[in-house]
């Protein structure tokens, strides 16, 4: 057994240990912490699998935003834990364990019995890279070859935000999400929230820009921008906008809207929906991505902030 394999086994052991801990620990709050660490280890595995684009997404979502979302919910529900409902009985547990073991065993068998001939689309992707003149194969797939998926994914984000907003209570309808954080002008948090976002914005734009030729992209860059925005909100330097504001809604639909327009444009002038004219492929993709990075940053920030809670009327 080589050192590399040994390391992989250590990595997997730590990750699965955290997974079990997350499932079994009593307090939900601790489970959320465990899940953040778990997300980080999953990002390590993706690097090891040579899928750096996914590792970036996982680091941004699994380790960062999802964790914060779960922690926030766990902190709010904390008081309700002692009167938690009864756990399922022994029979249910045994049945659940059996089902889970069977599922895992079936998947494990499938992994072990994977056929020797390996289907792959990598050569096709590389052979067609000229069509967009972008060097990152994953961005090519996301933005050109399977652009429909990416467009619909943005629509899903939009639907999620509509769903979250529609959960607001009557008197907070169209109001601002989350509590108003008070800034402590002498505080260390305000200091950090003034110092870090400029750096973070540069790094976010870098990750977005480098996505054309290296791992990176609009989603990962947008996640960084969203976290910087929320940092400023948490420090009390700025407030969440009311969700009824015009410009906010415009930013939210800008990305998918432009995507859709370009798609229809392709249907009208070119061979099909979302077919980019060859000479304009790169500028069009970049234009869509610029709109999308803003949309994604706004959407992720608002998804984390949750349903509106404060009325806009004073």
């Amino acid at each position: 057994m080589s050192i590399a394999t040994l390391f992989e086994i250590v990595l997997v052991a730590v990750m699965l240990g955290l997974g079990i801990w997350t499932i079994t620990v009593r307090e939900t709050y601790s489970a959320a912490v465990g899940f953040i660490a778990y997300g980080l280890l999953v990002a390590l595995i993706w690097v090891r699998l040579d899928a750096v684009d996914v590792a970036l997404t996982e680091a941004a979502i699994g380790g960062g935003l999802s964790g914060v979302l779960l922690l926030g919910a766990a902190a709010r529900l904390r008081g309700a834990e002692p009167r938690a409902a009864t756990a399922p009985g022994k029979a249910t547990r045994a049945a659940a364990a059996a089902v889970s073991v069977l599922t895992a065993a079936a998947l494990a068998t499938a992994v072990l019995l994977l056929p020797d001939s390996v289907p792959t689309l990598a050569p096709t992707v590389v052979a067609n890279a000229w069509a967009t003149s972008l060097a990152n194969p994953v961005t090519n797939v996301l933005m050109a070859f399977r652009a429909m998926d990416t467009m619909l994914e943005k629509v899903v984000l939009l639907l999620a935000i509509i769903g979250v907003w529609s959960l607001a209570s009557d008197n907070a309808w169209g109001g601002r999400p989350g509590p108003r954080h008070q800034a402590d002008p002498q505080g260390i948090l305000v200091f950090l929230a003034r110092l870090l976002p400029p750096i973070g914005i540069v790094i976010g734009i870098y990750i977005f820009w480098t996505g054309a030729n290296h791992p990176g992209g609009a989603f990962q860059g947008g996640a960084i921008l969203a976290s910087m925005w929320l940092l400023a909100v948490m420090a009390g330097l700025t407030d969440m906008p009311p969700v009824s504001s015009r410009w906010l809604r415009f930013v939210l639909v800008a990305g998918p809207g432009l995507f859709l327009l370009v798609g229809i444009f392709g249907l009208w002038l070119g061979p099909g929906f979302l077919a980019y004219p060859r000479t304009l492929a790169k500028p069009l993709i970049l234009g869509i991505e610029v709109a999308m990075v803003l949309t994604i940053a706004a959407t992720l920030g608002l998804l984390l902030a949750g349903a509106p809670e404060r009325s806009v009327r004073r």
Partner: protein, 113 residues
């Protein structure tokens, strides 16, 4: 054991743990976490299969990679929506589970302020 085998088995185990947690945990937030665990296992399976498809100088088949990125984003949206629903349920009803028993007395909001 190759990289693919180790991580493939790990992904299968993650799916198993996630499924068990999803079924047995009465707390809704815990169910959401367990579901995310299950999802990460499924994504890893994609990654393992993509790793086998390394070709043309790319270490991992870009098509499954793109699928996983889309999947992660959709899973995050679903998680955010689920948590918003849960917080609303807690606000309206004070419960964090979907237990049977007494029907929840939904406190209606004060008429539009």
């Amino acid at each position: 054991m190759s990289t693919v085998t180790v991580f493939g088995l790990c992904a299968a185990a993650a799916v198993g743990f996630g499924l068990y947690g999803l079924i047995t945990n009465p707390q809704l937030l815990r169910k959401i976490i367990a579901f995310n665990l299950l999802g990460s296992g499924v994504f890893l399976l994609f990654g393992v299969v993509g790793r086998r498809g390394e070709a043309a100088g790319i270490g991992n088949d870009p098509v499954p990679q793109a699928f996983v990125i889309t999947g992660v984003v959709v899973a995050f949206s679903a998680t955010a929506l689920a948590i918003a629903l849960l917080l609303r349920l807690f606000q309206a009803d004070g419960s964090t589970t979907l237990g049977s028993g007494t029907p929840p007395s939904v406190r209606s909001d004060p008429p539009g302020g």
